[in-house]
């Protein structure tokens, strides 16, 4: 079995290099830390909150924030000041240190995800050879922080929220990770920079039937991972007050808030980098990246400007879709939440890996993209994908039809007689 040799036919800027820990690298990292992680990303998050309030207001035929500054543009700053100067309360019976550490854990997890995203050519904070595994690993820390937040508060609503959150996050992590496996298979590497480069050669990965299915699964699982509606059971206001952050006030609540919006931004960046070709505006064309020549810095800067713009536009589209979903869909029921993850998404993503293997053999194995390879691959895998989706839904529908309506729901079962329930359960 021969793999496409990495770094053989790639241009100079795409080759993986070992990072020497010299002064330039240190300065670059410090700049990333100060400008990116302490400046730009929190700023983006602040204005995401403003954007969400505006968008939700439009959906509900309201105006939204319009008092502080023109169009309410200074509202995030006012909110931040309010959060900082509020009193910081810790419940008397709370576990003090764990209560303190929990929001920090959640925030750190959200921040660390951003460290491997390739925004443009040469604009990835760090290019790890196993960046995708790193990304999954650091994002799996946040359930721990959420659990500790709920546990340390000594409040039953917090505890309920924490248990819901952990169950949901652990369940949806499985399809989330499985849906990135096709990408790794096609790119032959775990590095996000290499994944971006492969998309210059083979078109955006979303433009293939298995890629599209994986993309949809990733979108759903991502929405669940960041606790957004319709998956916001862990903080369902109408049922359990605010879930795991009920007992948090002041800036510590602010940290949870920041972490949530930051992870929305991070998963949007992830989906863009993995499936939508990062900063390339047109699929199958290496347009801005191919302009870069080795000896002119100006070309690099220009191409990077275009790519960052396109990248941010794609990310904003994702964020808008998440706001849109939140403004339109009601909350999902808790048993359906688990059913959907384990009975639909997980089988779909496992079968999708096999179909991705077919796509790899037909289109990517030759090492270069040809039109007829692509068309044939598309036809065959599209058939397989449609068949798979139909099959999974059919099996689930048959399985559900065998169970009487509402028999899995205890409160309904109470008013029925025992005999019918007994039959229904069988």
């Amino acid at each position: 079995m021969t793999w496409y040799p990495l770094g053989a036919g790639l241009p100079f800027w795409a080759q993986q290099q070992l990072v020497e820990l010299d002064t330039t690298t240190v300065i670059r990292w410090v700049l990333w830390l100060l400008v990116g992680f302490f400046g730009i990303f929190p700023g983006i998050v602040a204005y995401m909150v403003w954007l969400e309030r505006k968008v939700a207001a439009r959906f509900q035929d309201r105006i939204g924030p319009n008092r502080v500054g023109p169009l309410g543009l200074l509202q995030p700053i006012a909110d931040a000041i309010k959060l900082i100067i509020k009193e910081d309360l810790v419940p008397r019976s709370a576990d003090r240190w764990v209560h303190l550490a929990a929001p920090v854990l959640v925030l750190v997890s959200a921040f660390l995800v951003m460290a491997v995203i390739p925004f443009a050519v040469g604009l990835a904070p760090v290019d790890l050879p196993s960046g995708l595994v790193y990304l999954i690993a650091v994002s799996s820390i946040s359930p721990l922080g959420i659990f500790l937040a709920g546990w340390s508060s000594r409040n039953k609503y917090s505890l309920l929220g924490a248990m819901r959150a952990v169950a949901q996050l652990v369940s949806y992590e499985v399809p989330q990770v499985l849906s990135t496996v096709p990408i790794v298979l096609w790119a032959g590497s775990l590095s996000l920079v290499t994944i971006f480069n492969r998309q210059l050669d083979f078109g955006w990965f979303v433009l293939s039937p298995p890629g599209f299915l994986a993309f949809v699964i990733l979108l759903i699982a991502n929405t669940a991972e960041v606790n957004r509606t319709p998956f916001d059971l862990p903080e369902a206001e109408s049922e359990i007050i605010a879930g795991y952050h009920t007992e948090y006030s002041s800036m510590r609540f602010g940290l949870f808030f920041l972490a949530e919006y930051l992870s929305v931004f991070a998963v949007s960046c992830l989906a863009t980098a993995l499936f939508l070709g990062g900063g390339t505006p047109i699929p199958f064309v290496g347009f801005p990246a191919s302009l870069i020549s080795e000896d002119s810095t100006l070309s690099l800067v220009l191409a990077d400007l275009i790519m960052v713009g396109v990248f941010l536009f794609k990310v904003l589209t994702f964020i808008f879709v998440m706001f849109w979903v939140r403004a339109t869909l009601p909350r999902i029921r808790v048993d359906r939440l688990m059913n959907f993850a384990w009975k639909y998404l997980v089988p779909l993503s496992i079968i999708n890996i096999l179909i991705a293997g077919v796509w790899y053999e037909m289109v990517i194995r030759p090492g270069y993209l040809t039109f007829w390879n692509w068309v044939w691959g598309f036809a065959v895998t599209a058939l397989l994908v449609v068949l798979t989706v139909y099959l999974v839904f059919l099996v689930n529908r048959k399985a559900r039809a065998r169970v009487a309506l509402g028999s899995e729901w205890p409160s309904l079962g109470q008013v029925r007689t025992g005999a019918t329930i007994g039959q229904a359960a069988r």
Partner: protein, 226 residues
């Protein structure tokens, strides 16, 4: 520099391991354990094995620690207040087991085989550079490949040299999974058995009117509406 970092991380690891053993609160002990897992991940990074470090965080902190927390919440007092005192009778066997594992580790590490053409690694305190391309030995090329593309190297090794251990571990996990399902599944049959007129004793004692409420169903605590 690397040695200093190693010493700091190792000391932190020992401290957190002690904290795990000595903490009175179960959740605190689990938290110390998480910190200990994290120091192990740091050690992997020092060994230029960032893929293993990421896997360490993913598997041990992201999965094992979470399952541990779930276990604590579902089996014990939910706030984990029970003090975790091991009865004195268990102290001697535990000590013996710990010493046994320690002895095996010391024996194994001291008898590790160095790759061909290298001096025993326990006598060397410098890692050869992998950045040079020309004039490097075959072992350096292997190491460069392993560092730059660790996921593939680990996968190849697991599927060739260590395949027996890998399969045995997989089998063990499958057995554990099936066992867990078998244990958890026993509760499911109860409503079915009840509808046939059998009253399990445990539920009946919890119900306020055990005999009169024949078809009192899934939630046995409340009386049926009449």
């Amino acid at each position: 520099m690397v040695q200093f970092l190693f010493l700091v991380i190792a000391a932190l690891g020992l401290l957190t391991a002690l904290g795990t053993v000595l903490a009175r609160n179960l959740v605190h002990a689990a938290l110390f354990l998480v910190a200990f897992f994290f120091t192990i991940a740091c050690q992997f990074v020092l060994l230029e094995a960032e893929f293993l470090a990421a896997l360490q965080v993913l598997v041990y902190i992201g999965a094992v620690a979470i399952i541990l927390m779930f276990g604590i919440m579902l089996t014990r007092n939910i706030q984990g207040d029970d003090t975790t005192i091991v009865s004195a009778a268990w102290k001697i066997p535990a000590l013996a087991a710990g010493l046994f594992v320690f002895g095996i580790l010391v024996f194994g590490i001291n008898n590790a085989v160095a790759p061909a053409g290298h001096s025993p690694w326990s006598e060397s305190n410098m890692r050869p550079s992998i950045a040079t391309d020309a004039g490097s030995s075959k072992a350096t090329a292997v190491r460069r490949e392993a560092v730059n593309n660790m996921a593939r190297t680990v996968g190849n090794e697991l599927m060739t040299r260590y395949v027996v251990g890998f399969e045995v571990a997989g089998l063990l996990l499958t057995v554990a999974l099936v066992g867990a399902i078998a244990l958890a599944h026993r509760e499911e049959a109860e409503p079915d058995a009840r509808s046939r007129g059998e009253q399990p004793a445990r539920r009946a004692s919890a119900s306020p009117q055990p005999q009169a409420a024949g078809p009192s169903l899934v939630s046995s605590g409340t009386s049926p509406p009449r």
